[in-house]
């Protein structure tokens, strides 16, 4: 576990990890950003917290009156 490892071992672990990561394939932000935006735009229409829910359909709407159970 991380707490039981000496500083040297932790550094070794980080080093091995970094060596792996330097070689990971990456895509440019100019490609991925529009894709994220397209995804969001597509789904925003259906997002209840954005478009709002009509009061009568909202299961969390305020309840009027008292309920005696």
């Amino acid at each position: 576990m991380a707490r039981d490892m000496s500083d040297k071992e932790i550094l070794k672990m980080e080093l091995d990890q970094l060596k792996l990561e330097v070689n990971t394939p990456r895509t440019a932000v100019s490609t991925t950003a529009p894709e994220i935006i397209a995804f969001v735009e597509g789904k925003s229409a259906e997002d209840p917290l954005i478009k709002g829910v009509p009061e009568d359909k909202n299961p969390f709407k305020e309840k009027g009156g008292c309920i005696i159970t």
Binding site: A33, F39, A45, D47, L49
Partner: protein, 395 residues
């Protein structure tokens, strides 16, 4: 164990060079050693040699980190909010507390929704785990854990069980029965065992496997039925505070964030750490995947939330304001991913526009730190839990 050094002078043969000299009685790692002063000096130099190796490792680590940054910077040709400028801004937000769930005796630490969109499980410092019906605010089940500070709780995908854990270093699964009189604690199943507190747990796509993260710096995947450890994930150098599974369509990965300021993405099958991000300036309290699975957001004690793009392998947005100085304890996305809800230690919840990077609303209502924020599975509402012992449902 700390090295204790006590000095007392005696005369005799040295343990190291066997010459008769004034000895220095030294305790190294609780073992008494009698060395003459010359050998003590030599030993101190050996320590230096070890230090040197740590230095070389550190230097190599630094060069690799710079190289990594360069590689990442090459692909950073545009900012997310620049591309998002042409999108229309969001309208005025009206979100209020629709329900307040009272019943916990102490700070609420964790909350999870059931897939049926109406039930919620919450856990608290007082050791109680309560299952609520969010529509009616009724409590359906209550379990008392044998430990306090139940920091993690999760609802099973089937809705038939809940998992929870905390200072007991374990994750236990309680099957929920329809019979209100049945003692749930009797059916408890201990699944995970860590060597430090359990900070977060989550069922995978089925009731059969649980993923846990712990203060001991590791994450682990367990089989619920047998309690067996299926895979463990080592890579954090400090407590892991939070984890989140990728949305099912995107495959077998999960992200974890911890006190070492790092957010790591792991492959569940191989146990390999595939990507790592270290741009936060303090502990990462919460991590959450973007609905598409291509990005994730983090909330941290440095008072910022950040969005990391997995395919571009870098941070693409920071959500912060000069006026926000308290740490963000929990983050969650709305259904489409346009909104990011973040609960802060200054008792508020800030709602951010993910694409433009601006804040769209602040929600007040809690009377103490907001410890957890979760959006319901169908996106119609979100629930926040706080140190003021209550949960609030906002819609």
């Amino acid at each position: 164990m700390c090295d204790q050094t006590f000095l007392a002078i005696t005369f005799g043969p040295c343990d190291n060079c066997s010459q008769n000299k004034p000895l220095m009685n030294i305790y190294l790692k609780n073992e008494p050693i009698n060395y003459c002063s010359l050998c003590v000096e030599l030993m101190a130099c050996q320590g230096l040699a070890k230090g040197e190796t740590i230095h070389t490792l550190k230097a190599e680590s630094e060069t690799l980190k710079t190289k990594l940054e360069e590689e990442r910077a090459k692909l950073h040709d545009v900012e997310l909010h620049q591309v998002a400028e042409k999108i229309e801004a969001l309208g005025q937000f009206v979100m209020k507390t629709r329900r307040t769930l009272k019943g916990h005796g102490n700070k609420v630490l964790c909350v999870d929704w059931c897939r049926d969109k109406r039930r919620i499980v919450s856990s608290s410092q007082d050791g109680k785990v309560i299952v609520w019906d969010a529509y009616t605010t009724n409590k359906e089940h209550a379990v008392t854990m044998p430990c306090t500070w139940v920091m993690a709780c999760a609802y099973a995908p089937s809705g038939c069980a809940v998992a929870c854990g905390g200072l007991d270093n374990k994750c236990s699964v309680y099957p929920l029965s329809l019979d209100k009189n049945e003692n749930l604690a009797a059916k408890k199943k201990s699944v995970a065992m860590h060597t430090n507190y359990l900070s977060s747990c989550s069922f995978t796509n089925s009731d059969m496997q649980i993923l846990t993260s712990s203060g001991d710096g590791t994450c682990a995947l367990w089989d619920v039925e047998s309690g067996q450890l299926l895979q463990s994930f080592h890579g954090h150098s400090a407590d892991v505070l939070s984890l989140n599974l990728a949305p099912s369509e995107t495959g077998n990965t999960f992200v974890s964030g911890g006190c070492d300021k790092k957010a790591n993405v792991w492959d569940m099958r191989s146990g390999q750490n595939v990507q790592s991000f270290e741009t936060h300036e303090s502990d990462i309290n919460s991590v959450k995947y973007y609905p598409s699975g291509d990005a994730f957001a983090t909330g941290s004690d440095d008072a910022t939330c950040r969005l990391y793009d997995l395919r571009a392998d870098r941070e693409v947005a920071i959500y912060s304001k000069e006026s926000i100085i308290f740490g963000a304890s929990s983050v969650d996305f709305s259904l489409s991913g346009r909104l990011l809800f973040a609960g802060y230690n200054d008792y508020t919840i800030n709602v951010w526009d993910v694409l433009k990077g601006t804040r769209v609303a602040i929600l007040f209502g809690h009377e103490n730190r907001v410890s957890t924020v979760r959006v319901s599975p169908d996106g119609t509402a979100f629930c926040s839990g706080s140190w003021d012992n209550t949960l609030r449902i906002w819609a």
